[in-house]
Amino acid sequence: MILPDTESTSTLQGRADEYFRYSKDELTILVDRMFAWLLAAEWIGMIVTALVVSPRVWSGTQSGVHPHVWAAILAGPAFIFPAIALATFWPTRQITRHFVAVAQILVSILLIDVTGGRIETHFHVFGSLAFLAFYRDWRVLVTASAVTAIDHVVRGVWWPESVYGIVTVSPWRWVEHAWWVVFEDSFLFLSIKRSIQEMKDVAISKARLYTGAHHDVLTGLANRRLLQESFESRPPKQHGPKQQGVKRAVLFLDLDRFKQANDTLGHTVGDALLKLVASRLATAVAPGDTLARVGGDEFVVLMENLNNDEDASVAGSRLLNALADPFFVDGNELLLSASVGVSLFPEHGTDLSALQERADRAMYVAKSRGRNQFAVFSSEIAKHENRLQEIGRDLYQAQKRGELQLYFQPLVERDGQLTGFEALLRWTHPEHGPISPSECIPLAEKSGLILVIGDWVLREACRNCKTWQRAGERPIRVAVNVSAIQFEREDFPDHVASILDEFAMEPSLLTLELTEGVLLRDLERTRHQLDGLRASGIRISLDDFGMGYSSLSYLAMLPADTIKLDHTFVNREFANASAVLASVIEMAHRVGLRVTGEGVETEAQNDRLSGMDCDELQGFYFSAPMPEEAVAGYIASSEGNRAVASEAVAATV
């Protein structure tokens, strides 16, 4: 038995009540049906009895059908057929039960009369009361007993000896009659009460089982199973002429950066936050729609009866707006956002798993667009996803086939002197051509391949760096980007040291660039790892500084050598940009950090950063990333330029 989630079944007691009502209705329908058949059988039996006991009435030589036979026959249309009709066409109703009770007792009374008041026939009354107890409704017994009492009172007035006996024989016979009815009714009432309680207990147990199996324990929302049942229990209505154009939608919602909050503030706070999120989302979901928690911080809304596609978008916005206000958990004020993906029935799938999978893909697109927004699944997304899947598969073979390559972009002092190169991964796909790192790195991270590729990048960078030392006059450093997955390795500092040993490379020539996302996962552990790396002489650079949630306190907390200003900071104009840049650079200098400005594309940007005492610069203004083969030439020309510059300086002097 599946009861749909409705307002009345939203609580345990509500669902238990519904189960009880359902069970009681089922039982009542059964008993109604049983009585319909019983009354029909009794009617036939009564006619046969009347025909056997008193078939005809005589007057001398004349005879006619006995009135008892007529009474038995006419009892059918008078009250037996109506009772059967009610039990058949209007079961479970109070009026039906009571009418059946009246009819059943009338049958008993008539049967007693037709058989000449035989005491044996009186057992029919007690049998009728016992049968009526199957309704599990004490009011029905009261009705039946009342009809019996009325019959006895009426007879007692006009025909007393038929009920009470005569005074000389048994003055208290009526007490004996009443006592037996009261005695039986008392047993039946107790039995009904007990039986009803058992039904209620079973209903509560069922409700508990259902709730446990269909709801998320933490938030109380629907779980995957209930979501699936809700989807299946409401079949699509698109085929009816009136319902044409009616749609359903699946909205997949994933909280942005929830894992960080969970990791930094603890799981207790995380759980409390999820509960608050669930209650906020519940207020944003329309009645009749299903809100489910399907993963740690993943929620799904199944929307029913959409009029058009815009309804889903409006619902997506409503969900995002519901999370806009800050959450207060355990003394913490937390700002949360979410990314929502939307898929539509039937365009994007006809079963829940397909719709959910497509909404999930759309959600990732929303995340990649900068989070806190929603995206509706489309054919473009599907193509993009297919391409990513294909690339992901090919990435396994890319390294073996030699399709991966390192490019190097120069890092220069503000006086133009070359200090090193940043190693940048490039992949030339045999079919799709050059693949952007922003596409292939997340795939590599997702598949775990980043460990192999990262290792290869580090070795290649060190190998090249070693070569540069032999070619140039001065030491030239190399900077390598490190993924979070690489950095999370317990032995990462030792591993890097072993690679440096392998190439006999000076540790101070290697700079590891780590983004905020890598560093903020576990501050204590990060500090421990960074200390280990710096102790061996490796330099640390905080990459993309100024983006995301960079806190200035990290400048003092984390052991780093350099911060690398994000290119959006450098090459975009915004109000007070120069003042902000100057302040950040000055602050970094005050805590002993060097500053690298990346994304320098124009002379003006170069002049501005140089004027702010930015220590190191990088960007297309100086050089685009170059392949390994071009680096030696660039170093040579850079040395030459330096010689020319030195000569010019000497001449000036």
Binding site: V53, S54, P55, R56, V57, W58, S59, G60, T61, S63, H66, P67, H68, A71, L74, A75, P77, A78, F79, P82, A85, L86, T88, F89, W90, I95, F99, L106, L110, D113, G116, G117, R118, W158, W159, P160, E161, S162, G165, I166, T168, V169, S170
Partner: protein, 225 residues
């Protein structure tokens, strides 16, 4: 059966499709019809069961013209019966109950069951005859051709009983059931029992319930309870 079940399914569909107001009207109509029919039927049935049969004047002394042998000692109980009146079965059972364990002053009465038989009717002993033979030990069963004895003793309704003492004096007249075909305690039976036991006349006339013996029945006036 398949036609009936199809009809029921069809009716169920129509019933469910009907508006709640229409359903209520139907229900109300059914209940009203049922109540009226049941009450009217009950009244008619009770009226039939409770309407006593007719009797004529009962001779205070044993009629000299009677061909029935009156016993020299003890009382004589005559029961007049229509051989096919099913209601009279109760009378025979009540008469049978009298003979068990009785200690009357004048001994048990000599019981004769007289079965009315119209001339040339060809009626033969039926169930009631056999019932009398079986249930009332020592009783005689005889045919009362054309109801001649019934006329002598004023009997017009099946189940009518008269008790005369050894001297031919009338002690009891009337019925021994409370209503048509119903066994059980009743005043007539009690009075008959008392007359047998004490030899004194019953103070009141008992109503008799049963089929008319010889023709149209006329309601008896008198008291029975």
């Amino acid at each position: 059966m398949s036609v009936i079940s199809a009809a029921i399914r069809c009716a169920k569909y129509e019933w469910r499709a009907a508006s709640p107001r229409k359903s209520r009207i139907w229900i109300l109509g059914i209940l009203s019809f049922s109540t009226v029919c049941t009450l009217a039927g009950t009244a008619l049935l009770f009226s039939f069961d409770q309407t006593a049969g007719a009797v004529s004047t009962v001779p205070a002394r044993w009629p000299a013209a009677s061909v029935i042998d009156r016993p020299a000692r003890g009382g004589a109980l005559l029961v007049f019966v229509h051989p096919y009146c099913s209601c009279t079965v109760a009378t025979l059972h009540e008469i049978a109950s009298l003979s068990a364990g009785r200690n009357s002053q004048n001994g048990p009465p000599s019981t004769t069951v007289l079965f009315y038989r119209p001339k040339n009717s060809g009626w033969i002993p039926g169930n009631l005859w056999k019932e009398a033979e079986r249930e009332i030990p020592g009783a005689r069963q005889i045919w009362d051709d054309d109801g001649r004895e019934a006329k002598r003793f004023g009997a017009r309704t099946s189940g009518y009983a008269v008790l005369y003492n050894a001297n031919g004096g009338l002690l009891f007249k009337g019925g021994v059931t409370g209503s048509r075909g119903h066994e059980g305690d009743n005043l007539g039976l009690e009075q008959l029992r008392a007359s047998i036991d004490t030899g004194r006349p019953a103070p009141r006339t008992s109503l008799v319930f049963g089929c008319a013996l010889t023709g149209a029945n006329v309601q008896q006036t008198g008291e029975n309870r």
